[in-house]
C-alpha cells in the first residue's frame, strides 16, 4: 500500500526530527555552565528594578554585605568607622578593587555611584537620612542628619549596588552592568536571561565555577520540570506541592529556606469594623493557621505564632504567647465588641452587617487560595469577607486613599538586613503602605526611634522585645504564616548554601562535584 507508506514516512520524519533535535550537541560543554532558574524577571537595568539579580549573581557588589545573622560584613568596603556623635561614617574600600571595564573602583567612582543610588526612584537609600556622600583621601564618607545605626543595613540593599562610571548614560540611566564582583555579565537579555563568567581581574580567591546562566521562569510547574530534568542546577522558589516529589529525586538536594518574611493581614483600623482591638483579636483567633500552613503551604512549621519568624532571632520573642485558633473565643470577643448574630449568620452592629473586602494579588500563587481559606474561616464567626484579586500596587494605593479594608500579602522584614528599616516604614506614627493603617502607638514609635539611634546591645535587645510585645498585643496587622521556600540543587554541585537575606546566590563558594 503506497498510502500507508507515505503516512508512515511522515510519522517517521516527525519522530526523527524530534529525536535528532533531542540528541543535539553533547552535554559536555553544558556541564561547565551552572544553570540557575528563578521566578524573577529582569524588568530593566536600573538598580531599583533588577539590582537584586545582579547582586545575587555577584556581578555587582554593595559597600557592605550581611552574614546569616544579618550582621554587617565587608563587601566592597573593607572596613569602616563611625564618629562618636554617630553622624559621620568613613568606609575604606578594598584595595585593588576593579570594575569589570578595567577601571579602578576608587572612592570617587564609588561615591558617585552611591550618590546616584541616593536619588533613585524606588531605591532604598532615599529612605535613609543621608545628608552627604563624598570621597576624600581614598575613603568614602557618608554624613547623616541624625544618628542612624541602620545605615550599614541600608547600604547592603541591592538598589545601592556600586556600578562603574561607564555603566551610566549621559542622562544618568544605567545602560549596562559594570560591577566589581567576582563575576562579570557577558549576556544580559531582559526580561529572561543573564549569563555571567568569572572576572579575571578579581583580586580575591578565584571562584571554582567559571560560568553561570540565569533564566527567569515565572511558572512554578516549569521550574519544577527544569529541576527534575536536570536542565537547571539551581532552582529557586519551588511550588510547595512539588517539594516532596523533588525530595525523592536522587539527583537533587532540596532545602527549604526560611526567609524573614511574614504573610499577614493588614487591617484598616479607622474602619468601623477594625477600630476595636477585640475585633482584631477575634479575627486572629478565627484563623486556622495550622491548617493553612500544613495543607496550602505544605510547611506546618510556617504557621505564624507571632509576627517575627524564628529566623529573625533577634526579634522573635520566645516568651510571647502563641497566636492560636479558638473559634469560641473569637465569637465571644466579637460579641463583647457589640457584634451580634444577624441575618443569614452574619454578625451585625447597629444594623450594619460585618461585610468587608480583602485585597490580595496573584504574583505569589499561594495568596489567592490562602484568601479563600481565610474567607471560610471568618465566615465561621459570622464575618462576610469578599476577596478581590488585584495588582500588588492596589494595596498601597488603597492605603493612601483610605478605601482599603483588609489586605493579605507577604511582608519582607529584611528589605535591608536589619528589620528596623522596615519597621520604621511600616509602624511609624503615620502607619505604612505595607504595615499599620490608621493605627499608631506612641509607645511603639518611641521605642523604634530609640532603636534607630542606640547602639548598646543590651538596650537594643530590650527595646526590640518591647516593640514586638506592642505589635503582638495590639494586632495592627495579623500574622498568618511565616515564609519559606524550597530550593533544589543538583547533586553535581557542592557547597550550596542559601542566604536568608537573599543578597547573594553565593556562587563563588560553590564547586562541581568530581
Amino acid at each position: 500500500m503506497h498510502l500507508r507508506g507515505v503516512f508512515c514516512g511522515f510519522v517517521a520524519a516527525t519522530v526523527a526530527a524530534w529525536a535528532l533535535a533531542a540528541s543535539g550537541p553533547a552535554a559536555a560543554d553544558e556541564t561547565r555552565t551552572l544553570r540557575i532558574v528563578s521566578p524573577w524577571e529582569i524588568t530593566g537595568l536600573d538598580p531599583a528594578r533588577s539590582g537584586y539579580i545582579f547582586a545575587r549573581l555577584q556581578v555587582a557588589e554593595t559597600l557592605v554585605g550581611a552574614d546569616n545573622g544579618g550582621n554587617p560584613v565587608p563587601s566592597l568596603a573593607e572596613n569602616w568607622t563611625v564618629s562618636p556623635d554617630g553622624l559621620s561614617w568613613r568606609f575604606r574600600l578594598r584595595p585593588n578593587a576593579q570594575f569589570h571595564d578595567g577601571t579602578p573602583a576608587n572612592a570617587e567612582a564609588v561615591a558617585r555611584s552611591l550618590q546616584r543610588a541616593q536619588s533613585l526612584t524606588g531605591g532604598m537609600l532615599t529612605n535613609a537620612p543621608i545628608a552627604e556622600i563624598a570621597a576624600a583621601d581614598g575613603v568614602v564618607s557618608i554624613r547623616t542628619d541624625r544618628p542612624f545605626v541602620a545605615l550599614l543595613a541600608f547600604l547592603a540593599h541591592s538598589s545601592a549596588i556600586v556600578l562603574a562610571p561607564s555603566a551610566y548614560s549621559e542622562a544618568g540611566a544605567v545602560t549596562r552592568i559594570v560591577g566589581t564582583g567576582p563575576y562579570r555579565a557577558t549576556v544580559v537579555e531582559p526580561p529572561l536571561k543573564v549569563e555571567i563568567a568569572k572576572f579575571e581581574g578579581w583580586a580575591g580567591r578565584p571562584p571554582a565555577i567559571a560560568r553561570a546562566s540565569y533564566l527567569a521562569v515565572t511558572r512554578g510547574e516549569t521550574r519544577t520540570a527544569m529541576a527534575e530534568s536536570g536542565q537547571a542546577d539551581l532552582v529557586y522558589v519551588l511550588p510547595p506541592e512539588a517539594v516532596d516529589r523533588l525530595r525523592r529525586n536522587p539527583r537533587l538536594a532540596v532545602a527549604v529556606a526560611p526567609i524573614p518574611r511574614t504573610r499577614l493581614l493588614k487591617l484598616n483600623a479607622a474602619s468601623p469594623f477594625f477600630a476595636d482591638q477585640r475585633v482584631r483579636a477575634a479575627i486572629s483567633f478565627a484563623l486556622d493557621r495550622e491548617g493553612i500552613a500544613a495543607s496550602l503551604l505544605r510547611s506546618p512549621e510556617s504557621q505564624a505564632t507571632q509576627l517575627f519568624p524564628p529566623s529573625l532571632s533577634e526579634w522573635h520573642v520566645q516568651s510571647l504567647p502563641a497566636l492560636t485558633h479558638d473559634t469560641a473565643r473569637a465569637r465571644a470577643l466579637l460579641a463583647d465588641a457589640g457584634w451580634k448574630p444577624g441575618q443569614s449568620g452574619i454578625v451585625e452592629k447597629d444594623g450594619r452587617p460585618f461585610r468587608v473586602t480583602l485585597r490580595t494579588f496573584s504574583d505569589r500563587p499561594e495568596q489567592p487560595p490562602m484568601a479563600a481559606a481565610i474567607q471560610a474561616q471568618l465566615r465561621e464567626i459570622g464575618i462576610d469577607m469578599r476577596v478581590a484579586i488585584v495588582n500588588s500596587g492596589e494595596i498601597p494605593a488603597g492605603h493612601r486613599d483610605g478605601t482599603l479594608e483588609m489586605a493579605l500579602f507577604a511582608r519582607n522584614f529584611s528589605l535591608v538586613p536589619d528589620p528596623i528599616g522596615t519597621l520604621l516604614q511600616d509602624y511609624g506614627p503615620q502607619g505604612g503602605d505595607w504595615g499599620a493603617m490608621n493605627w499608631s502607638s506612641a509607645d511603639l514609635a518611641r521605642t523604634l526611634e530609640m532603636l534607630g539611634s542606640t547602639s548598646d546591645p543590651a538596650e537594643r535587645a530590650r527595646l526590640r522585645a518591647a516593640a514586638a510585645r506592642v505589635l503582638h498585643a495590639e494586632l495592627p496587622v495579623i500574622p498568618v504564616a511565616w515564609f519559606d521556600y524550597g530550593v533544589a540543587a543538583s547533586r553535581r554541585l557542592q557547597n550550596v548554601s542559601i542566604d536568608p537575606f537573599e543578597l547573594s546566590y553565593r556562587l563563588d563558594a560553590m564547586r562541581w562535584a568530581e
Binding site: A21, R49, G122, K193, V217, S229, Q231, V390
Partner: protein, 314 residues
C-alpha cells in the same frame, strides 16, 4: 496581475485599520481598568516590597500620568504616525526595539508550529478519510477532538511532565538550545494539527465522494494516484482556507505557551504588559500581534489563490 495588486492594497488598508483600532482599544481598555495606574507601574518596576505612595508619586510625575487621557492618546497617535511606539513604562526601553527582539521569537515559534502541524495534521486527515468508519478513523478523530478541546496550557504541562521530567530527553523551558524549540512548538502544533486533521478528513471525504474521483477510478488509476492526482489539491483548498481561522488559536496559544516555556516572545510580553498596565507596551504588543494576524491571513489568501484557480478568475 492587477488582482494581486488590489488584494495587496486591500490588505494594507486593513492592516492600517487594525493598527489604529487595536491601539485605541487597548488604550481605553487599560484606562477603564479599576485602580491607580501609577501604583501598578511602580509595583511592576520595583517589586511589591518597594512600591509605596512615594514611589507611585515619582512614577506619576515621571510619566505625566495625571495629564488627561485624551492628551496621552493623542500623543500616542502622533508618535505612531512617526513609527514611534514610545517607551515601556516598566523597563524604560523603546517599545519598538523590544518588539523587534520579541517578534523574531514569536514568528519563529509560530512558523515552526504551523510547519509541524502541516506535516502531521493534513496527512493524518487524509489517512482517516481513507479509513472512514473504521477503527483507526474513529480513534484518530476522537483523539483529535479531545486534543483540540484541551487548552494549550494543559497540553504543554503534560508534554513537559512526560518528555522533560520523566524521560528527560528535552529541555523543559528556555530558549538557548536548539532542543528548546521542541516542547513549545509541539504544544502549539498538536492543537493546530488536531483541527487541521479533522478539516482535512472532511474535505477529503467530500472530494472522494465526488464524480471526478469516481471517474478517475473508472479510468483505472490506482488508489494512490487517485488521491495524489485528483484528491489532494481539491481537498487542500478548504484546509488552507481554514488555516486562516486557526490562526486565532495560534495567537491565543502563543500567549499561553510563551509564558509556560519562558519563551521571550510577544505573547509573553503581552501578558506582563497587561499585569503591569504598561500601556505603550500593551499597545505595541497587541499591534504587532494584530499585524501578524493580518499578514498571515494575507498569506493564507494568496495560498488559496495559488491552489484554487476559481478564486483567481472570480
Amino acid at each position: 496581475m492587477g488582482g494581486v495588486g488590489r488584494a495587496l492594497a486591500d490588505r494594507l488598508l486593513q492592516a492600517l485599520f487594525v493598527a489604529l483600532l487595536v491601539g485605541v482599544l487597548c488604550f481605553f481598555l487599560a484606562e477603564a481598568l479599576p485602580g491607580d495606574q501609577a501604583f501598578r507601574i511602580a509595583a511592576a518596576r520595583y517589586g511589591e516590597d518597594m512600591v509605596s505612595g512615594i514611589a507611585a508619586d515619582a512614577v506619576r510625575a515621571e510619566l505625566g500620568l495625571d495629564r488627561p487621557a485624551w492628551l496621552r492618546l493623542a500623543d500616542w497617535l502622533l508618535n505612531i504616525a512617526r513609527i514611534d511606539l514610545g517607551v515601556s513604562l516598566v523597563s524604560g526601553e523603546s517599545v519598538f526595539e523590544e518588539l523587534v527582539h520579541q517578534l523574531g521569537s514569536t514568528i519563529g515559534l509560530s512558523l515552526a508550529a504551523l510547519a509541524l502541524s502541516a506535516l502531521v495534521g493534513p496527512p493524518l486527515g487524509v489517512f482517516f478519510a481513507l479509513r472512514a468508519g473504521k477503527l483507526p478513523d474513529a480513534i484518530g478523530t476522537a483523539a483529535a477532538a479531545a486534543l483540540r478541546a484541551l487548552p494549550s496550557f494543559a497540553v504543554g504541562i503534560a508534554l513537559m511532565l512526560v518528555f522533560a521530567s520523566w524521560l528527560a530527553v528535552v529541555p523543559a523551558a528556555g530558549y538557548d538550545q536548539p532542543q528548546s524549540w521542541l516542547l513549545p512548538t509541539t504544544t502549539l502544533a498538536l492543537g493546530l494539527a488536531a483541527t487541521s486533521s479533522i478539516v482535512s478528513r472532511q474535505a477529503t471525504l467530500a472530494v472522494l465522494q465526488s464524480s471526478q474521483i469516481a471517474f478517475a477510478r473508472t479510468k483505472g488509476l490506482g488508489e494512490f494516484d487517485v488521491v495524489r492526482r485528483h484528491a489532494v489539491r481539491n481537498a487542500a483548498a478548504p484546509v488552507v482556507a481554514y488555516l486562516g481561522v486557526q490562526l486565532v488559536y495560534l495567537v491565543e496559544g502563543v500567549v499561553v505557551v510563551e509564558s509556560l516555556f519562558a519563551w521571550p516572545g510577544i505573547g509573553h510580553a503581552l501578558v506582563h504588559a497587561v499585569i503591569a498596565r504598561d500601556i505603550p507596551m500593551l499597545q505595541g504588543t497587541a499591534l504587532a500581534m494584530g499585524l501578524l494576524f493580518v499578514l498571515l491571513n494575507a498569506a493564507v489568501d494568496f495560498a488559496c489563490r495559488a491552489i484554487d484557480p476559481r478564486v483567481r478568475h472570480a
